[in-house]
Symmetry: C2
Subunit: 424 residues, 2 copies
């Protein structure tokens, strides 16, 4: 038995209504999973080694449900454009560089280091269309100890010349990766059609077959921008909605699919997502930066749609999940003011839940300190930001989320292992 | 003659249309003022000592036109409320603590250190209603070498019991400070009626007289929140608008008044502001955090209203002006999407101009590297954020604004003096 007791202030969300906070409580971990949290340590655990953190507090690690690793170099660049122009002007040319394995290795090393630094213990990542560079990313993520789904992008139409794939080759490369990594546990492949406009029906059909054959998860983009939605309508006039295109090709797999953005989803689209247990990856910073719009997250929550948060770099300009979480709250306030007074605004527990257990559920029991959850955690040292007075644990978390910095994270755990990864 | 030549990459805005960027150029400073910037150093300056910064770049220091120093301890706290509730629940109780000079000294030291750290070389600050603690802040700011206007707040109605002042005493205290600091150059007092609801007509009239007598600048709040605007209408039904109340009492002084927020200004209010040269302090983060709304900044720009940016801590949750600048761009995109398709969106040069020369103009020739401007500058080391490739100076600035951190600022200058202030 590999077991450990941690004594620390703890704060997490079991649901999206409220925080569970416990001062100087005991968290018992066995084989990477939480056995329980206790105000007083039960006698049967007294023989387990104990580590005490007296000044900081433990929270679940952050989960980023949507990011484009190969766009890291463009962070902060080109945010005066909207989606379709931005893709052609910034995203595609940068992604084309990943045909060069050396370049991929350099950039991906930096991305992995930054994910570690930012306390993003689980992430769902778009690579590029290149098999080679995607395998590099899979290898680097595995080495880091962080959890992830990593996807080789598929795109065989309406893309830049350099990135447009041959349909059969695209499917073969995808299958080769699915096969090679089928027994991995912490870093796994995910089927990744870029988005409907860049995938031919034949490609989507083939990917649907592979998803079925390998029981693989799927990620893509959905209803991010009005021009994009119009374009999909033109390409697939016979489908009821954008989401129904994915559905037709078997790409909305029960509880195994992530759709990024979902800003302009229709009622029937939301209903389809709910039925299929699709996870909406809400990427508020990206949706603001690219002038896409504000996703109706309160509607998704009320409608029972699975929901998490995504940084969507480099449509979004930061990997720092607390900033994504704050921006989610902020845009929900503006949506309330300018679009729908009845929907309410995202609360801090709701947003924190999305950034931990909400997105974490895509990985299974991840994102909470409840029994049987993976012990993915961050130790937060807030002494630099706490100020003069005594604060409740909830206020300390609030200050960390709104004003904290990467330097406040002093330990990172995934499945019970502390990750000391700092390679550059 | 106290003169210095700096050789460095330079980037700044002369106007809000475009950046002026010069690689490895010469900036000549004499007695704290810029004599000029040159691609090649003119012969007549060759005898002046030269400092060369080969890897970083120089930008003008940031100007924060609106912040509440005594609310620093509340940074990140209480942002689930709207303005009027938030004032009573968070702002007023915290400000009441500043009757204690020891507490004021502790908190204000931290605020001053943070302004220095964040590269905010000029700021316009609300203190509290307490004369003593306001004088502490004036002293600490002066010691730091940063430039500022610091105001003792006036409030004699509709405030918490602890903070409500006797009208005569409020005026006497204000005059005592105006008198004591009348000959200061870099850190000066500013007349600071909190906002119309908390100032009686007699108080506002007295403050208008003092402003005239001491030729003093004025700051207050204007049209931040719809409930507040309604309240002002009830209190002053005979005034054409909220701004006209200030105007009636002589508080809109030609080019010497700052009004924070201006989210809900009417057409005639904007016209009055333009006529009087009032500076609107746009505080986008605060306006989002407190669910106030989005100020129509593009309208202000088109209408020729003076404009700068404010952090408005702790309605806003950060002193970091690049984040304020980014949020100004972000909300302008959402305003464009949800309120007014015709107004356009804030560009990066526009927003950078607001954060430097736009707000700096309230201080005179501040916020640019043009001839005769105060040499207020930051040396930015972007090696940690620049990435693998060669970037233009404009892209490097863009990356710094969107992804940089305080640690990127390695030197700070005000009026030609390098500020090494780090006292804790």
């Amino acid at each position: 038995m590999d077991a450990q007791v941690y004594k620390s202030d703890l704060i997490f969300t079991k649901n999206n209504k409220e925080f569970t906070s416990m001062e100087q409580a005991y968290l018992v971990v066995e084989n990477g999973k939480v056995l329980g949290v206790f105000d007083r340590l039960p006698g049967k655990y007294e023989s387990i080694p104990l580590k005490a953190y007296e000044s900081g507090f433990l929270i679940p690690g952050f989960v980023d449900l949507h990011l484009h690793a190969p766009q890291y170099e463009n962070l902060g660049i080109g945010l005066d454009e909207e989606l379709l122009t931005w893709l052609n002007k910034y995203a595609f040319p940068e992604e084309a560089r990943f045909s060069d394995a050396g370049y991929a290795e350099e950039v991906y090393k930096e991305v992995v280091r930054r994910l570690w630094e930012n306390g993003t213990t689980r992430s769902v990542i778009f690579g590029t269309a290149h098999k080679g560079s995607t395998e590099i990313l899979l290898r680097l993520m595995k080495k880091s100890g962080l959890g992830a789904y990593v996807g080789k992008v598929n795109m065989d139409r309406n893309s830049s010349q350099e990135l447009t794939e041959d349909t059969e080759r695209s499917l073969e490369d995808t299958e080769a990766i699915l096969d090679a990594y089928r027994n991995e546990r912490l870093v796994k492949p995910i089927i990744t059609p870029r988005f409907v406009p860049s995938c031919s029906p034949r490609l989507m059909e083939g990917l649907g077959r592979l998803a079925e054959k390998y029981d693989a998860p799927v990620q893509s983009h959905l209803s991010e921008n009005t021009d994009e939605v119009e374009w999909v309508k033109e390409l697939h006039p016979d489908c009821e909605s954008y989401a129904h295109v994915y559905e037709r090709y078997g790409l909305l797999r029960q509880n195994r699919t992530i759709m990024a953005h979902c800003v302009y989803c229709t009622g029937s689209e939301k209903e389809l997502m709910r039925e299929k247990g699709v996870f909406a990856a809400h990427c508020p910073i990206s949706n603001t930066d690219l002038t896409s719009g504000i996703a109706p997250v309160k509607d998704f929550i009320a409608g029972g749609v699975n929901l998490g948060l995504g940084s969507d770099i480099s449509g979004g300009h930061t990997l720092w999940m607390p900033e994504v979480l704050v921006h989610a709250i902020q845009v929900s306030k503006l949506y309330y003011l300018y679009k729908d007074k009845d929907c309410g605004r995202l609360t801090l527990p709701e947003a924190f839940y999305l950034a931990t257990k909400g997105g974490g559920s895509f990985f299974g029991k991840v994102g909470s300190f409840e029994e049987d959850y993976s012990f993915d955690a961050l130790l937060i040292d807030d002494c630099a930001i706490i100020g003069q007075g005594k604060r409740s644990l909830e206020e300390r978390l609030q200050k960390f989320i709104y004003t904290g910095e990467k330097g406040c994270i002093i330990k990172r755990f995934v499945e019970g292992n502390e990750l000391g990864y700092t390679e550059r």
